[in-house]
């Protein structure tokens, strides 16, 4: 009997179970809200890794080199004689 009481005290899974899995309504709410928040977090994380891995090869730095040229073309005063 003693070992069962000690088991029900600690443990990460035990704590998680007591928090969300006691009632099904709480469990379902946790799953849906967790899915929404979790997907946003994963999208953010993966995009950060992608940008770190692909420095300089995406379209954005390329666009930055094109844009100044375009504004120069559209503004006649910047033309050199």
């Amino acid at each position: 009997m003693e070992h069962t009481t000690r088991r029900s005290q600690g443990g990460l899974f035990e704590g998680l179970y007591r928090l969300i899995m006691r009632r099904n309504s709480i469990y379902v709410t946790f799953v849906i809200a967790g899915a929404f928040a979790g997907e946003r977090a994963v999208d953010y994380g993966v995009r950060k890794i992608w940008e770190h891995n692909n420095v300089g090869t995406t379209f954005q730095p390329l666009e930055a080199t094109i844009r100044p040229k375009e504004t120069q073309l559209m503004n006649p005063s910047t033309y050199e004689p």
Partner: protein, 365 residues
């Protein structure tokens, strides 16, 4: 007792007949392959490493399957015991049985190995010289295209390739946000004349191109293309890196692989030697020469640089969704592995009730 042995007899006969079939196929295939090998010159040394690994894997798998199959019925399949007595041996069989089994396995493994060897030796005449694997910048699981390279590659295509090759599945709007800005593509499209549908008078008219128009085609139809190129049709390049085996490496190797034919090989007038092209004689002349294109961004236009850029452009054209696909794949494989952990936990949670039972089995003998 009798029914058990009679059942085992049937099983053992089936297994032995299978064993005989195995001997038969192994020996026949061995004979055929040995005949083929002696008549066809073997370029076993030029076998690509990947082919060797696949045949080893295939041979190993076959080995394992056979070993498992034969060992399952080893208790019942001892040939001699059936004729000698009605008893069934429990051990793995006599020495004769063991040697027969090993011979069968060796025969099957060898025929598997040699089967791949003949395929590999016929490869080069049929498929062209095997192209090396180049370290494309977009090769990793989280690597994007080099968009500056796509831009340069489009320039190479426009100036070098578009005179003969069409890219009829790509529209100008596909380039927006990938290699050029919208204004640039609009200006580029406006330089082209496009035939448009009947007007109110019922006549077809020409107008300057818009973003929604496809890339212009150099020839009106396939026959015109063949007529202008000595009977050879320059293929549409929209999907070429997907339409050829190992497309990206193949196209780069082909474009940069023109060389003089080896001694004894003569190519007829109008064709050119290229070892990567199946058959060796290609109708397209060498198009990428140093300095053929002057890049907008000032990159020196060497043959290798132009080849790399144009193949990156063609890879993008064939697989524009690659970056989104890689992002999605990484994200969902990650998410599903987390879901796997959750599912495993949930399963073990639900089963814990049953698994921690105590069962009392009261068997009546």
């Amino acid at each position: 007792m009798l029914t058990i042995t009679s059942r085992l007899l049937l099983v053992s006969f089936v297994r032995i007949s299978e064993l005989r079939l195995l001997f038969l196929t192994a020996s026949i295939s061995n004979l055929i392959l040995i005949e083929l090998i002696t008549t066809v010159p073997t370029f076993v040394v030029s076998e690509p490493i990947t082919e060797i690994f696949t045949e080893m894997a295939g041979g190993g798998v076959i080995h394992q399957l056979l070993r498992r199959k034969l060992q399952q019925h080893s208790a019942a399949s001892s040939f001699l015991s059936i004729f000698a007595s009605k008893k069934v041996h429990d051990d793995a069989g006599t020495a004769g049985m063991n040697s027969l089994r090993t011979f069968a396995l060796l025969g099957a493994g060898l025929s598997g190995f040699l089967g791949f060897a003949t395929v590999a030796s016929a490869d080069e005449a049929e498929h062209g010289l095997e192209c090396p694997s180049y370290p494309w910048p977009h090769k990793g699981i989280l690597s994007s295209y080099d968009h500056a390279s796509i831009r340069r590659g489009h320039q190479v295509y426009q100036q070098v390739c578009a005179s003969c090759h069409s890219m009829s599945l790509i529209s100008h709007r596909d380039l927006v946000g990938v290699a050029y800005t919208e204004e640039e593509v609009k200006a580029m499209a406006a330089e082209i004349e496009v035939v448009d549908g009947p007007n109110d008078e019922g006549e077809m008219f020409t107008r300057p191109g818009k973003l929604s128009d496809r890339f212009p085609q150099p020839y009106a139809n396939e026959q015109a293309a063949r007529f202008a190129n000595g009977g050879a049709y320059p293929p549409d390049l929209s999907l070429i890196t997907k339409a050829r085996h190992n497309g990206q490496n193949y196209v780069f190797a082909l474009l940069t692989g023109y060389r003089d034919p080896p001694a004894g090989v003569s190519i007829r007038e109008g064709l050119h030697y290229n070892p990567y092209f199946p058959g060796g004689a290609i109708a397209m002349p060498k198009m990428l020469n140093d300095g053929a294109v002057e890049y907008e961004d000032g990159t020196p236009a060497t043959e290798a640089q132009m080849g790399k850029d144009v193949v990156t452009f063609l890879s993008w054209a064939a697989e524009p969704e690659m970056e989104e696909r890689k992002l999605m794949g990484f994200k969902w494989i990650f998410v599903l592995s987390l879901a796997l952990l959750q599912a495993a936990y949930y399963r073990r949670l639900k089963w814990s009730v049953l698994k921690s039972r105590r069962l009392v089995v009261d068997v009546v003998n």
